[in-house]
């Protein structure tokens, strides 16, 4: 057995596998389910100030085994109500990370305080959410907004703050650098990739909301590129997210620079058994390599690539 434990912003995780936000995150009992199945940490769905029903269905479209779209519309019961779910999960021993979203830095700060009060071990900021001013871009796609939000949150709470970076940006690494500079203790990347699917027979978007986000194996290489570039710019630990569905995928993220990973879409169909499978696959890969601890491999693929590539296709 290799040592799969890792450390993330001062939090020891028994393995690098964390339940991603928005998956199995509505009920405290589901969070416990993921924890009991082997997740080393569970992230709540992104919680806002007030209850939101989310968008009408269809909210999800499977494109194939390699990807799916969703536009849930950030359904959540509001932080007040949701704190009961967190309490349940904590009582049952789960290591809970609270995800929050807001339209302004002030809203993030207020939510951060309320979320921290529930006793979560860390905060993840979902910056892939619409600007209060609208217009379709995300609050997390501009380094100045990221700086402002992270700064406002860090002022309010003592627990580590993880900034979740959007791939829908010119330079995700610059966003991560802004977050680090503003006090984020870790970076997670990526959220879903902006996407749309149209039904050619009905001649309309499939998702009721129109625009949605792509997740699953199709975005693994996109998430890896983000983690890779972020690793070249920041020193705080990185949590890799996007398209992970095998132990080899986890290893790819670790080699790109992630010290832990989040699992989202792979929970569909398979359920939280995926955590046990991934841990086992990872352990086998490490044994085959003769590596005793996963931590040795973090960022291991950067050797020979130290100079940021100025050029790309």
């Amino acid at each position: 057995m290799s040592d799969l434990s890792v450390e993330l912003a001062g939090i020891r995780l028994r393995n690098p596998l964390i339940l991603a936000s928005g998956i199995w995150g509505e009920s405290g009992q589901s969070l416990v389910g993921a924890w009991d199945a082997g997740a080393a940490g569970v992230i709540t769905k992104s919680i806002g100030s007030r209850p939101r029903p989310g968008y009408p269905n269809p909210t999800v479209e499977e494109l194939g085994s390699w990807g799916m779209l969703n536009a849930m519309g950030l359904p959540n019961p509001g932080i007040r109500e949701y704190s009961r779910e967190i309490a349940f999960a904590r009582e049952h021993g789960a290591l809970v990370i609270g995800s929050i979203f807001g339209g302004t830095a002030e809203e993030f700060a207020r939510l951060a305080r309320e979320m921290a009060a529930t006793g979560v071990r860390a905060l993840e900021l979902n910056l892939s959410c619409p600007h209060a001013e609208g217009f379709g871009t995300e609050i997390g796609s501009d380094p100045r907004d990221v700086d402002e939000v992270v700064r406002a949150v860090v002022r309010e709470v003592k627990i580590p703050v993880i900034a979740k970076i959007t791939p829908n940006a010119a330079d995700p690494a610059a966003l991560a650098a802004a977050a680090e500079n503003a006090g984020a203790r870790a970076i997670s990347a990526i959220n879903t990739v902006r996407a749309l699917s149209i039904d050619p027979t009905l001649m309309r978007p499939v998702l009721a909301h129109g625009i949605g986000g792509l997740s699953g194996p199709a975005i693994k290489s996109v998430g890896l590129a983000a983690v890779w570039q972020i690793r070249q710019r920041v020193r705080v630990p990185i949590v890799g997210v996007g398209g992970i569905s095998s132990g080899a995928d986890v290893l790819e993220y670790v080699l790109a620079g992630a010290c832990a990973v989040e699992i989202g879409t792979a929970v569909a169909h398979e359920g939280v058994r995926v955590f046990g499978r991934l841990a086992q696959e990872l352990d086998q890969l490490l044994s085959k390599k003769g590596v005793s601890s996963l931590r040795e491999l973090v960022g291991g693929a950067h050797r020979g690539f130290e100079i940021p590539a100025a050029d790309f296709p």
Partner: protein, 258 residues
């Protein structure tokens, strides 16, 4: 991935319930459900009320906006279907009591038909508010099942709750299994009857559904997800769940009384 199909036949089963038949070549079993996309409106979970080839069917009771809209959609209209999802009724038992309330009968009908066809003895206890709202009583009788009826107003069969009929049947004769689908308060009663008579029970439950593939957590019910672990559960399990018959979650995830 939705498949776009045309409604090839539509039957008004009751004043508030319509059945749509549509070609859908993916194999489906009784108990499973599909997500039905009504373009421009909503996508809603529907148990399959017809699971055989050549064409599948759903039977929709007007409950809210989309299901009301569904009543007026005409033959030839295009809808999107994905699925089937979820588990199925165990068709092995030889002496079955199927207890349906309202549109809950929709999912019991194909299960009962298939069981009868494979030699089981099936008794159906069907409940409705009034005679005209009775679902699939004729269809089930024609299939060879024995059918007993209860209506709130006594316009057909026993006046009162179908749970009373079910309890009587369980007392009168031996059953290997009880199947039930309908309002949760009804299912809870049926589950308790089954328990007291030592008969194994299976209930098909409903929770708000969004993804139907076990990830969004909208349909969480205790430690289960109705879309993948259900919709059919052992009634012993249902009775052990604090939420069963009492609360559900609204689309925001908030717990609300049933």
């Amino acid at each position: 991935m939705h498949r776009i199909v045309e409604i090839e036949d539509r039957v008004l089963e009751t004043p508030s319930t319509v059945t749509w038949r549509f070609p859908y070549s993916v194999p489906c079993a009784p108990g499973q459900f599909v997500m039905v996309w009504i373009p421009g409106d909503d996508e809603i979970p529907m148990s399959l009320s017809y699971t055989d080839e050549p064409s599948k069917g759903v039977t929709i009771k007007a409950m809210g906006s989309a299901s009301r809209h569904a009543q007026s959609i005409s033959t030839g209209s295009s809808i999107g279907i994905r699925g089937p999802y979820g588990n199925r009724f165990d068709l092995a038992p030889r002496r079955i009591l199927a207890v349906g309330g309202g549109s809950g009968t929709a999912v019991l009908a194909p299960a009962a038909e298939l069981a009868v066809r494979s030699g089981a003895r099936v008794t159906c206890a069907l409940g409705a508010t009034t005679e005209t709202e009775l679902l699939f009583a004729t269809r089930l009788a024609a299939s060879g099942a024995r059918v007993e009826v209860a209506t709130d107003d006594g316009s057909a069969g026993t006046r009162g709750f179908v749970t009373v009929v079910a309890d009587r049947l369980l007392r009168e004769q031996p059953f290997d299994a009880v199947w039930t689908c309908g309002p949760e308060v009804m299912m809870r009663k049926v589950a308790e009857s089954a328990r007291s008579h030592g008969t194994v029970g299976y209930g098909s439950v409903e929770r708000h559904m969004k993804c139907a593939i076990g990830m969004c957590d909208a349909c969480a019910l205790g430690p289960y997800h109705v879309c993948v672990d259900g919709p059919v559960f052992r009634t012993e399990i249902l009775l052990s769940l604090e939420e069963f018959g009492r609360t559900k979650r609204d689309p925001s995830g908030r717990r609300v009384p049933l």
